[in-house]
């Protein structure tokens, strides 16, 4: 039932890395997981070992009326995956136009997914504000905003707190507990990263749900098309990921027993 959106005002901060590996970590807690890629970069699938040449996906097929159940991929991790699909620029614009004309093309399927009380849906969003985030944030139990521990991350904090940038209502909005932050690529050896991260942790308090270390193994895991908990389970980042998964689980509404007739048959 719960929907977890991974978003950020900024690109390249680790949203996709986090979406994939967090879905995997939550899956290891015994949950049923569906990861959905809402970014035309179509990169989420790579973390799950889907070969580059496999180009099919859900959102890419929206203008053609593709059924979301038909686009689901099984992955070795046990996380079910809805890739975006690999498309050209014109097709990406067509997807945006289709969502603009009929938002229900996305919200309809997502509502169907969320009707399964045993399912946890993790959505990887494109950087910055997007139609997809605007449509899905109201359905989300939790929106995780990923930031880096640097000056730009600091500068974005008030934008997120006020809700100005992502249009989410902000940390002081009607449901501030649904909006949490995660610091990624924290480097304890780098003075800027370490001190800024600690200051942000103090400033944000419980609104900061997690922090992940910057480690080469994280990027290497993607190069190997593996998940971090498989490729480097003893790393600091893997430990941080497990901690985050626990805190995410605690912040989500309790997942009910699965219904007898699953949606994904």
């Amino acid at each position: 039932m719960p929907l977890l959106c991974i978003a950020s005002p900024k690109g390249g901060v680790g949203k996709t890395t986090l979406a994939a590996n967090l879905a995997d970590a939550l899956r290891r807690q015994g949950r049923r997981l569906l990861a959905i890629d809402l970014d035309p970069q179509n990169a989420l699938r790579l973390h799950f070992g889907v070969p580059l040449e496999e180009r099919a996906g859900f959102l890419a097929g929206l203008p053609r009326g593709i059924a979301w159940r038909d686009a689901i991929r099984r992955t070795p991790s046990g996380v079910a995956l809805l890739p975006f699909g690999t498309i050209a620029a014109a097709e990406a614009l067509a997807v945006t136009a289709a969502l603009e004309a009929s938002p229900a093309l996305l919200t309809g399927p997502v509502r169907e997914m969320l009707a399964d009380p045993a399912l946890l849906v993790v959505a990887d969003l494109p950087p910055g504000p997007s139609r997809a985030l605007e449509l899905l944030a109201p359905l989300a139990s939790l929106v995780l905003v990923v930031l880096l521990a640097d000056a730009q991350g600091v500068a974005l904090v008030p934008e997120i707190e006020s809700g100005r940038f992502l249009g989410l209502g902000g940390l002081a909005g009607p449901a501030p507990s649904r909006l949490r932050l995660v610091l990624n690529q924290v480097d304890q050896e780098a003075r800027l990263s370490r001190t800024v991260a600690a200051a942000m942790a103090r400033h944000l308090g419980p609104r900061l749900l997690g922090a992940l270390a910057r480690e080469e193994v994280v990027a290497e895991a993607l190069a190997e098309q593996r998940l971090l908990l498989d490729s480097a389970p003893a790393s600091q980042a893997a430990q941080d990921l497990r901690d985050l998964a626990q805190d995410v689980a605690a912040a989500l509404p309790r997942v009910a027993e699965p219904v007898a007739a699953g949606w994904a048959r």
């Binding site: 070992g49 070969p51 070795p76 046990g78 103090r202 900061l208 941080d240 699953g262």
Partner: protein, 127 residues
């Protein structure tokens, strides 16, 4: 001229008071104070009046030696380093107080579904 000040500071920092400034007659890199279209300070971002817009020139320093008051999250960067850290998760290390965070019991039991059952990975990709 601002660049003269910069040069004096550089000479002081290098410990070479005799270092001379040689003008090549080119225009100053930094414009004069009067005409300064100062770079937008990020101070507005975190300060008390942060709802406001950046004010041209307000508080701008090319290389702050102390934290800009209006950007307190960066202030610790300019403070003397503190020693001693507990080895733990990154978030726990960031939070000075290790206070036992309450955690819920993790796993929710579930009925296995073929779609979600992990399969042994065969090579890097799916077949």
């Amino acid at each position: 001229m601002p660049q003269d000040d910069d040069f004096a500071r550089l000479a002081a920092a290098l410990g070479v008071p005799g270092l001379l400034y040689r003008s090549f007659g080119n225009a100053p890199v930094r414009p004069g104070e009067a005409a300064s279209p100062a770079p937008p300070a990020l101070g507005w971002a975190m300060g008390p009046g942060r709802a406001g817009r950046p004010e041209a020139g307000a508080g701008w320093r090319p290389r702050p030696v102390a934290a800009p008051e209006a950007w307190p999250l960066l202030a610790p960067l300019f403070a003397p380093a503190a020693a001693g850290e507990a080895p733990a998760g990154t978030l726990a290390r960031l939070r000075a107080a290790p206070g036992a965070a309450e955690r819920r019991p993790a796993a929710t039991p579930f009925l296995p579904d073929p779609l979600f059952a992990p399969r042994p990975a065969r090579g890097a990709g799916l077949r």
